[in-house]
């Protein structure tokens, strides 16, 4: 299991939660995020977040603690697990797609 940090933000135009990938794209799937295992790598991620904010693609970028097991990335804190997957409750009339971190959040 790898432990480290993932950079997350909200997309400026629609507010949706996104994660920075290894190819410097923003994905809605946390499993596609790049995991920084060293403090220096985490700092570099954070710096890239500031650059993206300056180009007004995302807003409110910050690092979260997470673990990677196989292909799945799970944030450490409950808050971030829910943020990565959407509400744990089935909201009216809307189907929530299954999400790895979600299952962990509900089980926790």
């Amino acid at each position: 299991m790898d432990h480290g940090h993932v950079l997350t933000a909200n997309r400026l135009s629609d507010g949706i939660v996104v994660f920075l990938t290894a190819t410097s794209a923003w994905s809605e799937q946390i499993d596609e995020a790049v995991l920084a295992r060293e403090p220096l790598a985490a700092a570099a991620l954070e710096k890239r977040g500031v650059e993206f904010e300056e180009t007004n693609l995302v807003t409110g970028a910050y690092l979260i603690e997470a673990e990677r097991q196989g292909a799945a990335i799970t944030p450490t804190r409950v808050r971030e697990r829910i943020r990565a997957c959407g509400p744990t409750v089935a909201y009216l009339g809307v189907h929530t797609p299954p999400c790895h971190a979600q299952a962990t959040a509900v089980a926790a």
Binding site: N10, L12, S13, D14, G15, I16, V17, E53, T55, N56, T59, G60, T76, R77, V78, R79, I82, R83, G86, P87, T88, V89, Y91, L92, G93, V94, A108
Partner: protein, 551 residues
């Protein structure tokens, strides 16, 4: 209800266009987030856990059928087909896009609505008794004064940058349904011996991390002095309220730190000093506003309703709903229909676009087009003929809104919690769901009697847990959510703040803990003794014993 005049409409329309331009400058990068954030917040647009959230003001919880239909349309056009009615009588959309928000605001403006002052350190949407104007026990409709305060406080330059947010609630009835003792300013109407209206001014109540019951600084303020006096309170707060610490910035802390007597003295001094004519309420203006709230033409109806009685005999479920959900109207032959947005296992306060339209249709057909939102996160049809109750109940039941649980254990207040809120420390909705599922048998709920369960997902207490007869506060420790239980809170006339019982419970344990508390109550209650009365008589020991004593 109040209708915009030309000035109101122009002001709101201009504001929409201003925000449209600001949004496009933000999207193009001309404005930074730091510059834009206070602007979007002034227009009700927050950034929450999963995205933007738009909070729309429903002044004193009153809206008409057309406005409700527009809220439904907005939820479908720009959001995910539902909205969340809040504990401050507003509605929130959980998934609006920034780029759509100017269009949403334009749609709202087309039906005399907006999202101004639903955020920020200003005087927020004024809340009122949701039975205002129709309750049998009311002295007079408090909404003209609520509207007057709304107009006075909207973008008031002196009160746009207060130390912290500021909430006002009003009631015209002796039974407090508006929680006036838990607002920065609570106003309660009284009549003097001459039958003239005056207001008891209660200041410094609130919940959050430092819950306090407000103190009365004036027993009877003549109505025409109201705005001048409120202005004096606001000035004292603006001057002496703390700005060094966000958590100590509310007026309740100022009153606590200076003492109620000294605070009162400062207010009276400022009130005596301030030039009176400029601030005195013009009777004319209040009369102008009051005309909008003139009661509809009621029919002369009989108190005896043989048809209704027949329906109740035929259908015990309908009879139960009439008992639990219909309030006493001041006009004979009419009732106040309280629509529960708390189905067993549902999300408190959520309504789909379809449900909103159903309520709008019912309001149009049976309630002079008027609807209310209650701070308990339910809806109200205020002016219903008793002879129409059965049809209304049938329509509501077919659309998942026929629950007979108003004021009972299933009628749970819950904030959005960690499922939506960026500030939350734990989820509240799943807790409400598990409790309302556990207590879904309506005859059992009725047997238990009046019992308010309020749930907040953090110490900011949007779920009013401090005033729940049973309060539940969600916290996080070492990556796990847990829930602290309080007993004995109450937001009515005899207000009290709940006391913590003991160590918290996990998500899986909480419904069982509530079950134990309820069983304990059922075992020791006296004849027709309510849960709250019982707690006040015996205190917490029997409940602690039942919950924590080793088996």
């Amino acid at each position: 209800m109040y209708r915009y005049d030309e000035f109101d409409q122009t002001f709101v329309d201009q504001r929409v266009e201003q925000f449209r331009s600001q949004t496009s400058r933000r999207l193009s990068g001309e404005l930074t987030e730091e510059e834009f954030k206070p602007i979007r917040l002034m227009n009700g647009l927050y950034l929450q856990l999963h995205g933007y959230m738009l909070r729309v003001a429903i002044p004193y919880g009153t809206l008409n059928a057309l406005q409700m239909r527009t809220l439904a349309d907005i939820s479908e056009t720009y959001d995910k087909g539902y909205g969340h009615f809040t504990t401050r009588q507003n509605i929130q959309y959980n998934w609006p896009k920034l780029e759509d928000t100017p269009d949403i605001l334009a749609d709202l403006a087309s039906v005399e609505m907006h999202a101004i002052q639903t955020s920020g350190n200003c005087i927020r949407n004024v809340t009122a008794d949701h039975w205002a104007g129709v309750a049998a026990d009311e002295l007079a409709d408090p909404r003209p004064v609520a509207e007057l305060i709304r107009q006075w406080s909207s973008l008031h330059p002196e009160f746009s940058f207060l130390p912290r947010k500021f909430k006002v609630a009003v009631t015209g009835a002796p039974a407090d349904r508006a929680a006036v003792k838990f607002h920065d300013i609570g106003l309660r109407m009284h009549l003097n011996d001459a039958g003239e209206r005056g207001w008891e001014v209660i200041v410094g109540g609130g919940q959050g991390r430092t819950p306090m019951v407000g103190v009365t600084v004036r027993e009877f303020l003549p109505e025409e002095e109201l705005l001048g006096y409120l202005e004096a309170i606001m000035r004292v707060y603006n001057l002496f309220g703390r700005r060094d610490n966000k958590y100590k910035a509310r007026i309740k802390i100022l009153i606590h730190e200076t003492g109620a007597e000294e605070f009162s003295r400062l207010v009276e001094e400022e009130y005596a000093r301030a030039p009176r004519p400029s601030v005195e309420v013009e009777r004319k203006e209040l009369d102008r506003i009051s005309a909008y709230f003139a009661p509809p033409q009621y029919e002369t109806l009989s108190a005896l309703q043989p048809d209704l009685e027949g329906r109740k005999l035929e259908n015990p479920e309908f009879a139960r709903w009439v008992r639990t959900n219909v309030g006493a109207h001041r006009v004979t032959g009419y009732g106040i229909v309280n629509i529960s947005l708390k189905p067993a296992g549902g999300i408190p306060g959520d309504a789909t676009a379809e449900q909103m339209r159903t309520v709008a249709d019912l309001a149009e057909r049976f309630s002079h087009s008027e609807i209310r939102v209650s701070h308990h996160q339910n809806l109200v049809l205020p002016d219903v003929k008793l002879s129409d109750l059965h049809e209304i109940w049938t329509v509501l039941s077919a659309d998942g809104m026929g629950e007979a649980n108003i004021g009972l254990l299933g009628d749970i207040i819950a904030c959005p919690g960690l499922d939506y809120c960026a500030l939350a420390t734990a989820r509240s909705i799943p807790i409400a769901q598990s409790i309302s599922r556990q207590f879904s048998d309506p005859s059992r709920l009725e047997d238990i009697g009046p019992l308010r369960v309020n749930i907040s997902g953090c110490i900011n207490a949007c779920g009013h847990h401090h005033v729940g007869h049973i309060g539940i506060l969600g916290l996080e420790k070492k990556g796990k959510e847990f829930y602290q239980v309080t007993l004995g809170g109450h937001s009515g006339t005899d207000a009290s703040i709940g006391g913590v019982l003991g160590k918290g419970f996990s998500e899986d344990e909480i419904a069982g803990a509530i079950e134990t508390i309820v069983d304990t109550y059922l075992g020791i209650r006296g004849d027709s003794e309510s849960f709250l009365e019982c707690i006040r008589r015996v205190g917490t020991p029997p409940f602690k014993e039942a919950l924590y004593a080793p088996a």
